[in-house]
């Protein structure tokens, strides 16, 4: 991902209809060959034909078509020929893709890189002053690096709390202290749910720890939190597909508890390993992913079908998304102040609704105690937040 900058109004101009109301931009925005900000690029084995060698400052859209036979890339480079202003990669033969960039007046280079090697086929490109305000062009690399460091620190902190809590929970459960285990269940899982996108990035860990019974393939062994959840909140036959629930034996309990701790420790080991990083675009994708989790699992009460502690998970997912947003907030505010203002408000709205149902410290009401109207209101607030959150990644990758 390039870390160089384009401008403030960028994402607003990108998606004008879905963003808050913005002034019509006569100098660019729409991709038409008649529009001054719209350019076409044809990349072949030995040529990089750009439809014009200059454009007025503002939103530029390069529609890049790979007319060659090798995979290609396209770059807009700063006047030193080194700094990448923006780029698109992995354009297969015959494919077209857009590079949308906010460009300030100045000298640039365009470059196609067929075969993805070498310095590329370059040409000078001039952005003239349209008089339109283009946002700050300072290098945001430092801000993004700081964001990534802050997020990794958060993940490590949550992982530390998770392993300590999981050990305590597993001990209580293995020892048959079910009341204690039930008390600890939701509050411990909060640390997991806050950083779940990180766990998902390790692929095999998430299923071993967080698979729900409904997700199991035929014959697949069930491990993790929800196996124990069911054993702690044992269903009646009616709620168990007509079958009498068979509690786990002492040996099975011990094995389930050991598995849970061991797999959680693997997660901790991975995030505390030297060199563990989580890039800005991953943080942004993770924030959206957390809200998707809420929309499909928590707000429907499907995540915790035995304990009905879905609102803890809900709060934790929102916490995780908010932290992810907050570490990126300086960059977002600079790139797209309207998006930042939208997100600020909608986090407040959603957290206000959740606060009416409890807190992680004081406990939440059971999902089954929510009225249909309350669930609908929460779902609407989740949708309201998710829609602008889905534009966070493009703000990062464009930064």
């Amino acid at each position: 991902m390039s870390r160089t900058s384009w401008s403030a109004a960028a994402a607003v101009a990108l998606l004008p209809l879905l963003a808050a109301c913005v002034p019509n931009d006569p100098a660019g925005g729409a991709a038409s060959s008649d529009a001054p900000g719209a350019l076409t690029v044809s990349s072949t084995a030995d040529a990089c034909e750009v439809s014009a060698d200059s454009a007025p400052s503002g939103t530029l859209t390069f529609s890049v078509t790979n007319d060659g036979s090798d995979v290609t890339e396209f770059y807009l480079l700063a006047d030193d020929g080194l700094r990448i202003v923006s780029e698109i990669e992995n354009i297969g033969p015959g494919i077209s893709r857009d590079l949308v960039v906010q460009a300030a007046p100045g000298d640039y280079y365009t470059a196609c890189k067929p075969g993805m090697v070498g310095d590329g086929i370059r040409a000078a490109f001039t952005v003239t002053d349209s008089g339109q305000e283009v946002g700050p062009t300072g290098d945001t690399a430092d801000q993004l690096a700081a964001a990534e460091a802050a997020y990794v620190a958060y993940v490590k902190d949550q992982a530390g709390s998770l392993i300590a809590g999981t050990q305590e929970f597993a001990d209580a459960y293995a020892a048959g202290d079910d009341d204690r285990a039930r008390d600890l269940y939701a509050a411990t899982r909060v640390h997991w749910e806050r950083v779940e996108p990180v766990a998902e990035s390790f692929g095999d860990l998430d299923p071993t720890l967080d698979l729900r019974e409904a997700d199991l393939e035929d014959g697949q062994a069930w491990t993790g939190w929800h196996l124990i959840e069911k054993d702690l909140w044992q269903p009646t036959p009616d709620a168990n597909g007509g079958e009498t629930y068979v509690p786990l034996t002492a040996e099975e309990r011990a094995a389930a508890a050991d598995d849970l701790v061991a797999n959680t420790q693997k997660l901790v080991d991975q995030v505390t390993a030297d060199g563990f990083t989580f890039e800005a675009f991953q943080i942004a994708n993770g924030a959206k992913g957390l809200l998707d989790e809420v929309a499909t699992g928590k707000v429907t009460g499907e995540e915790e079908i035995w304990s009905h502690t879905d609102l803890w998970d809900f709060q934790a997912n929102v916490d995780g998304a908010r932290v992810a947003y907050e570490v990126l907030q300086d960059v977002v505010t600079e790139q797209d102040p309207d998006l930042a203002a939208d997100l600020d408000q909608r986090f407040v709205d959603l957290e206000g609704l959740l606060a009416a149902q409890g807190s992680v410290d004081a406990g939440f009401v059971a999902y089954t105690d929510l009225t249909d109207a309350q669930v609908a209101e929460l779902a609407a607030a989740v949708d309201a937040l998710s829609e602008p959150l889905s534009r966070l990644t493009t703000t990062m990758t464009g930064a």
Partner: protein, 466 residues
């Protein structure tokens, strides 16, 4: 029974051939070529005043109707084959956010009705790390005669029934409530589901292709997240009314022609008298409702039909209940489909040929103080109930000048006296004030010549917020 259309009557909203999405996107050069073509189409089609309609054939899936005009499209527009109607609840109390939404909806509707993508980028282009600004399922489809019509429910002005305090007047609009936007009374036999009734806003999308209509509502709903959410929606097919004399009378799920006597676009004097809200109504309720002048009221009723029992009734009973014969649609007093029924004609035993409890008699203008309505209903089939019966019927839509004179009295009579009621139950209901259109030529365009969002751009219902 329909007044004959005037000779040489104009055809409001006459379709013309526009640029199809396929044409827009399939020009080979990718986005740029496509958008250039889109610009041309948009510039032609959006502004009817500047670009008189060419004499294009009225058939073809790529027909488009102008979005702008004195009245909103989708009312006297020849009824398209498919409907997707959505009622929304506004979830914010921020008046500016509501205005923003209406402004965004206006631009999106102006674009989609001309076969353009909802946003400035095509659904398969734009920034690679952003979700596309159009959902894409209509990308290869023509405009299919899409119209999008917006309306406001009573709850937008005064809150849900029984609301008090700030909940009652969330947007400072109570003083703008039009006198006709009443709470509909309970009619005999109503079994209304609140989850299929009412709403703060309504969007009626009609097209000849259901995917185009659904695409429109889906994208508008997406733009509304955080400001409004869908309360209920209804899919309809097989238009059950003709709104133009050029259209053949269709049939409802009872198998009878429906809408023979419907008010048609060509009957300009009657449309003026029975559909559009006159300036004289503006202060009638002691409120300032001048914003609705030139608009209309939309009555929506989801009428489930007990089709299984209907199908077991004799042809004699079916025709007697409707008052027309099933094949031709002629009144039982004789003639052909468009012959006026003779309500005084009797048979050999002295009983009226058009029965006293027949639908045609009870709904006839002479029995209803001469009122007429412009109906625009559709058939629906929403799966089945637990007993294996189709959840099917008629989604009744009518545009009227005032529901107090043009719907409530007739429905009161029908619900208590109409023999057909034995086979009907009303399961959903909505009443909406439909503002006039956005004037021709008023919408700003972007660099590519297509409708674009502008901070002070006009929007449907703007006068309500002025």
């Amino acid at each position: 029974m329909t007044a004959a259309p005037g000779p040489g009557g104009t055809r409001p909203g006459a379709p013309r051939t526009g640029m199809s999405r396929r044409a827009l996107l399939g020009l080979g050069g990718g986005l740029v070529a496509g958008a250039a073509a889109a610009g041309a189409a948009g510039a032609v089609a959006v502004d009817a005043a500047r670009s008189p309609a060419p004499a294009a054939p009225s058939s073809g899936a790529d027909r488009t109707y102008p979005f702008t005009g004195a009245h909103q499209a989708g009312i006297v527009t020849p009824a398209q084959d498919r409907l997707y109607l959505a009622a929304f609840d506004v979830t914010t109390t921020d008046r500016d956010a509501l205005v923003d939404l209406l402004r965004r909806w206006t631009v999106m509707a102006a674009r989609m009705t001309q076969g353009l993508p909802a946003g400035q980028f095509a659904p398969a282009s734009g920034p690679y790390d952003a979700p596309p600004d159009d959902t894409g399922e209509a990308a290869d489809l023509p405009a299919a005669g899409l119209t999008i019509t917006f309306g406001f429910g009573r709850s937008l002005f005064v809150g849900a029934p029984g609301a008090t305090g700030p909940d009652a007047d969330r947007f400072g609009l109570a003083g703008r409530l039009p006198a006709g936007l009443i709470e509909l009374p309970h009619f005999a036999g109503d079994d209304l589901d609140p989850a299929r009734s009412d709403g703060d806003l309504v969007v009626q999308a009609c097209a000849d292709d259901p995917q185009v209509a659904v695409h429109a509502v889906r994208n508008l709903s997406r733009a509304a997240f955080g400001t409004a959410r869908i309360r209920w929606t209804q899919l309809g097919y097989g238009r059950t009314s003709s709104t133009s004399t050029a259209q053949k009378t269709p049939r409802n799920l009872f198998g009878f022609k429906d809408g023979t006597a419907n008010l048609k676009a060509e009957e300009t004097a009657d449309v003026e008298a029975h559909v559009w809200v006159p300036a004289s109504a503006a202060t009638e309720g002691g409120t300032d409702a001048a914003w609705l002048t030139g608009g209309s009221y939309l009555v929506a009723r989801r009428i489930r039909m007990h089709i299984e029992t209907w199908d077991r009734s004799s042809l004699r009973e079916q025709e007697a209940l409707v008052g027309r014969n099933k094949g031709e649609g002629a009144p039982l007093s004789g003639g052909t489909e468009f012959t006026e029924p003779d309500l005084d004609a009797t048979g050999g035993d002295g009983t009226p040929l058009v029965a006293l409890d027949s639908h045609v008699r009870l709904a006839h203008p002479t029995q209803n103080d001469g009122v007429r309505m412009l109906r625009r209903g559709y058939n629906f089939t929403d799966g089945n109930d637990a007993l294996g019966r189709l959840d099917a019927g008629l989604f009744f839509l009518a545009f009227v000048v005032d529901p107090r004179t043009h719907f409530v009295p007739m429905q009161t009579r029908l619900s208590s006296q109409d023999g057909l009621m034995e086979y009907l139950v009303h399961t959903g209901s909505g009443l909406f004030a439909v503002p006039p259109g956005v004037p021709d030529g008023a919408l700003p365009t972007g660099a590519d010549g297509t409708p674009a969002l502008a901070e002070d751009g006009p929007f449907v219902g703007q006068a309500l917020f002025g």
